[in-house]
Subunit: 354 residues, 2 copies
DNA sequence: CTGAAAGCGCTTACAG
DNA sequence: CTGAAAGCGCTTACAG
């Protein structure tokens, strides 16, 4: 139907994809008609539609998303900002976002800020320039102000699993850390523990601040001593997440402590590895997939209604007791003697192989 | 300098960011001049530059990347396609890509294809429409044709860690799987193993095909029997990657086998967890960060020179012997009796907690 | 039902 | 050194 040479001429170097103009010319219609066909909008006569479709197939025409985005004031891209792509928790979060999105669209940009303030700001700049439709923040550095900058630029933002923002324009869905820490503290108290220690990541990140505060409150409520700067006297280690817990488990055992006989260890997130027989980590199960799905739902609603995402939601957690927590008795040897928890950056990448 | 109301008017609803036109008007210059200032191109008189800069700061102007991309025929975005975001191997790969990129630019889109042919095609379509500058493929389904489609559309592609393509326009950097499997086979042979089994992911993916073939060749060279469909008689399990190895370690021990006394288990990738004292997995160390860095370097060079990425490179690996492999003797109980390796999808997400 | 025209926000020769 | 104009590839009222 369309001379082969015309088509070939279009893409002789493989670098000049067909445009709507090419398709219109080859099909003998106007660009508006082609546009109507590809968008399925308005009614186009059957014969014209068929002709256009044929040319599209032959030329392998694909609408240029850049031009469309410029015209439509929307890019069909959302960003998921993680602290640490090595943590499977974020994989689950991303899966939840995918679930909430309709097939293939919009495209999700997963970007790793490493919770580094400079990187966060650079990323924020880039996302604003690119005019992403929305941003889901998986974690951010303490007191990071960039979510508000995004909001200033009309981009809806939802914090997923990293607390709430002081800015009312920022939505949030998070685990109920206060409840979770009470569960942990009650569990440890029942096992006889009276002095515990919290192990967070090396960097300052909002989610860890939040959990640290929650454990402080819960411990105080039970009359348990919480060691924050050093583990002296502690018989249990409460970790910000599973990755940190698993690292500390390793460090403790290499230093000669027995888990759980000497020291109990608790994680957070209940990542799949926690259930591994050799690890068997007591951890807090929170539904990361649901977290992602809810955050995405909020974002998509905000985008559709051209407003900020402002909802705030809290998800209940469940304590999964496994083999790293056990009873302790008064007078039992406790931590101290120079041992320090491994305040690792909770990226698997930073851990040096032994 | 610029009346406050003018600025406020620009962004009254927080949804109309300043454009180059606004800046030009407020600074009393032409759009060309503003463009010259933001791009740092050509010389602009100091006073004009200062005026423009001031207005940019006051209005919080950020050039619209969509418009720029449309004009410049480049988006400053590259995509990294992974099989499985839950595998820390890809986090390392991504880190390598980041390392090779100059600060903050270009933006990397990390997309998970799940090695599902339909998802791969949808993703490919989306990336072409969005005119990404280049694509790094972390893994893909067996015989996936989409890299060639990307190349057809003038997008340079590099396969990172998943073999080479039959298409000469596709670049590749990969681990030397043949060498690695020889290392493994030699190690097992020396320990007395004569029958082994390969455990891959449930899905068909190129990297696993490649490793399966490599282990077949290596086993044949040593006169070792390789069981492919069932593990009967095997005393060692060679796994496609660490995640699969760790899952099988769990499954074996839950089924009552002792590792390494009854069965030896070998992983691939040497992810950080392999070095954990409780896991202590014998694995093949390959530098995933280097893999990402090299792939990115190839892609950036190709983009800059407006050509395909065609280089092919092989990285040597090293066998790290740990506690999951041990000696076996003839007559020793072996696998079989209905036990099957866990051919898990190697995403941590799919594993059901026990 | 169809097409000519304007415009999204930039950049890039090209006059002046 | 500076600005007017054209154009990147689309979509969207609006005539006909």
């Amino acid at each position: 139907m369309v001379p082969r040479e015309w088509i070939d001429a279009l893409r002789s170097d493989g670098r000049s994809p067909a445009t709507i103009k090419d398709v219109a010319r080859l099909a003998g219609v106007s660009r508006s008609t082609v546009s109507n066909v590809i968008r399925g909008s308005s009614t186009v006569a059957d014969d014209l539609r068929a002709r256009v479709m044929a040319v599209i197939a032959e030329t392998n025409y694909r609408p240029d998303a850049r031009a469309r985005a410029l015209r439509e004031r929307t890019t069909g891209m959302i960003a998921l900002i993680t602290a640490d792509t090595g943590n499977p928790f974020y994989a689950s979060l991303g899966l939840g976002v995918e679930e909430a999105a309709t097939l293939g669209e919009p495209l999700m940009i997963v970007a790793n800020s490493h919770c580094d303030p400079a990187a966060e700001l650079a990323l924020c700049d880039s996302l604003i320039s690119r005019r992403v439709d929305g941003v889901i923040v998986g974690d951010l550095s303490s007191n990071a102000g960039y979510p508000s900058i995004l909001a200033d630029n009309g981009i809806p933002v939802v914090l997923a699993g990293c607390g709430v923002s002081g800015d009312p324009r920022i939505g949030a869905v998070d685990t109920d850390d206060e409840q979770a820490m009470e569960l942990i503290i009650d569990h440890l108290f029942a096992l006889g523990h009276r002095t515990v220690c919290f192990a967070g990541p090396v960097d300052q990140r909002a989610a860890a601040d939040r959990r640290r505060l929650a454990v402080r409150t819960a411990a105080a409520g039970r009359g348990i001593v919480l060691q924050e700067d050093h583990p002296d006297g502690a018989t249990a280690l409460i970790c910000h997440n599973d990755l940190i817990a698993i690292d500390n488990l390793d460090a403790l055992e290499r230093a000669g402590w027995l888990v759980p006989d000497d020291v109990s260890v608790v994680g957070f997130d209940d990542t799949p590895l926690a259930a591994h027989r050799r690890i068997s980590l007591t951890s807090v199960r929170c539904d990361a997939v649901a977290l992602g799905r809810i955050a995405a739902t909020q974002i998509f609603a905000a985008i559709a209604e051209r407003r900020h995402a402002t909802e705030r939601q809290l998800l209940e957690c469940e304590l999964v007791v496994r083999g790293t927590t056990g009873p302790t008795t008064p007078g039992h040897p406790s931590l101290g003697a120079g041992w320090r928890p491994v305040h690792v950056l909770d990226t698997a990448l930073e851990r040096t192989p032994h």
